[in-house]
Symmetry: C2
Subunit: 219 residues, 2 copies
């Protein structure tokens, strides 16, 4: 089971490693990190880099694709090589998945037209504008496309995938192995639950960052 | 606020990126990835590599240290350069932290003698044998040392740290930004909750992996 984790300039690290440390524990899993060109790829804050061991052309037929989100997605919505690769590999994947704003790339590749899907809460309108039918749930499955809400939701998505692929016991074992018994310090992990002032502050900060990105043209 | 994330051969990716995507969003945070030598460092399954941008000697006085766990820790309990660095930087850190079996390294460096601390549920006995006072909680703070249970617990630990460093609102904002509103598919994330057969299967698999590591001498 080859699981391709897509990297691009400006990805979010947790979006990709949450699923890695779940799906990588599947019996028979062969994770591979892939980017337009092989090499070290920087995250959205430029503070760390994950190595893409393969170029897109070297991974033509993965069984599972995981597309992480990150501010960098905003600059890739017309990126020919990446979107063409997503559309091409989707023809033969068992599961095509995205975390957070990774769904914007699936949509830009033409894979979510009229399809129920989710994304980071601050990207719901943009995902809808790209043709998806946005559903306000943490993990959304439609056929063999599975999308997750923001960042940390990739862990829940990956456990759901394990359950779909190898059953309840496999998912329970991996959940236990990564000791996923969450104790968030607050009940502020969703915009419907967080205090209004916090929602406004995060919205303002993210919109400012997006504007800056688009203006500078680089993640 | 310089936050040093320690890498070593055989780390667990989620242990380090969970805290990164929380602490990296702190106002004024300057994350830096550090290893004995700079360069690409492979995780415990050899499936991905994160780049250590700096060598230990280049990061002599971080404000915060985050030590991830991973199978590789089992081979580092007498590793001079790494343990000396941990002991040295701890002299001046504001917070010295570990996720999962990262606590074994803090203990091996002499920092947890008689100190309340936690670790991955399968490493509790080993942590106790290294002198710590093992506490069965998800996040344990003792003075300026903070330890977390297995893998995913690093997210909870990092949010707690943000709360300690910059207050409730900063932590709530970051929790919302990473949409941390967990929905695990099962209630099997702790050995006290998972079915007995699942606990036994994970224990057997981990013990086999540990034995293999020690026999081969490399992560």
């Amino acid at each position: 089971v080859q699981v391709a984790f897509l990297l691009y300039d400006g990805f979010t690290a947790l979006d990709v490693t949450g699923p890695l440390d779940v799906l990588g524990r599947l019996a028979g899993a062969e994770p591979v990190f892939v980017a337009e060109r092989a090499g070290a790829i920087r995250n959205e804050s430029r503070t760390m880099a994950i190595v893409a061991d393969r170029a897109l052309s070297e991974v033509p037929a993965p069984d599972v694709v995981v597309v992480p989100g990150g501010f960098g997605t905003r600059l890739l919505l017309e990126h020919g090589p990446l979107l063409s690769w997503l559309a091409a590999v989707h023809e033969t994947t068992t599961w095509t998945t995205a975390v957070c704003t990774g769904s914007l790339l699936l949509a830009a590749a033409g894979l979510l037209e009229g399809t129920p899907a989710t994304t980071h809460w601050l990207a719901r309108e943009q995902l809808a504008s790209l043709g998806a039918q946005v559903v306000n749930e943490r993990v959304v499955r439609q056929g063999r496309i599975v999308t997750a809400a923001g960042v940390s939701a990739g862990i829940d998505m990956a456990l759901r995938l394990v359950q779909l692929m190898q059953g309840d016991e496999a998912a329970q074992a991996i959940q236990l192995a990564i000791e996923y018994d969450p104790e968030p310090p607050f009940d502020s992990g969703a915009p419907e639950k967080a205090p209004r002032a916090i929602v406004d502050a995060v919205t303002t900060a993210v919109r400012a960052r997006e504007a800056e990105l688009v203006a500078s043209g680089s993640a």
